[in-house]
Symmetry: C2
Subunit: 125 residues, 2 copies
């Protein structure tokens, strides 16, 4: 599973880089059957997902990845599950917020798109 | 996606209940192509996964679930992705430890088995 971690890292780095620069440009990474659960709110389809992501009230945002683990999600194709944990650094909050995010990535035309996306902030116990 | 959250909750509650009572009894929930990534260590197959889980150095352990989100993982079958966040309460540590865990559950004979299992402790920043 070494290769898959490298591919997942490349995707996740790219995803969070676009998230920091211009969140609307994440649209090509979703499809109309893609799903986002953001802090228990559910969205389906590229438009609905991007509308939610773009509306998040951060003037600036950076995902600092602490851990990232990937596994093949099927025996018959190159899809993968990725669990990311890390810190969210925003321009509006002085304290970083812990988060966990799960992606289910599906291969298409030599690249990947996000089929499932589940995001949760981790509140201090 | 309301129903799927109820099914996922039932599975996760059952899984953690067995985890607390006798971890070896989790074996029927995995298959030989199942994968576990536990704190970056990778295991494949029921035997290898159960050996790892059974060897964890906790005399007693309880998963307290804070959040649980599920999504359908495919358009053509009832598989699902679940992200759990919560606290791990062990008999050996006085402080609860935050964890995040992702399951990819596959339907089989009216029930589900774990295809992907990724577990991470969340260390305080």
């Amino acid at each position: 599973m070494a290769d898959i971690n490298a591919i997942a890292k490349q995707f996740v780095d790219y995803y969070y880089q676009i998230f920091s620069s211009d969140r609307k440009n994440l649209a090509p990474l979703y499809r109309d059957h893609s799903m986002l659960t953001f802090e228990s709110q559910q969205f389906q389809g590229t438009n609905s997902i991007i509308e939610k992501i773009a509306s998040l009230p951060f003037t600036s945002i950076q995902h600092q990845v602490s851990t990232m683990d990937a596994q093949p999600a099927a025996t018959d194709k190159a899809s993968m599950i990725v669990l990311v944990t890390g810190q969210l650094i925003t321009g509006d909050e002085s304290n970083p917020l812990s988060f966990s995010q799960t992606f289910h990535l599906i291969p298409e035309n030599g690249s990947y798109y996000v089929f499932n996306d589940i995001f949760r902030l981790i509140l201090a116990g």
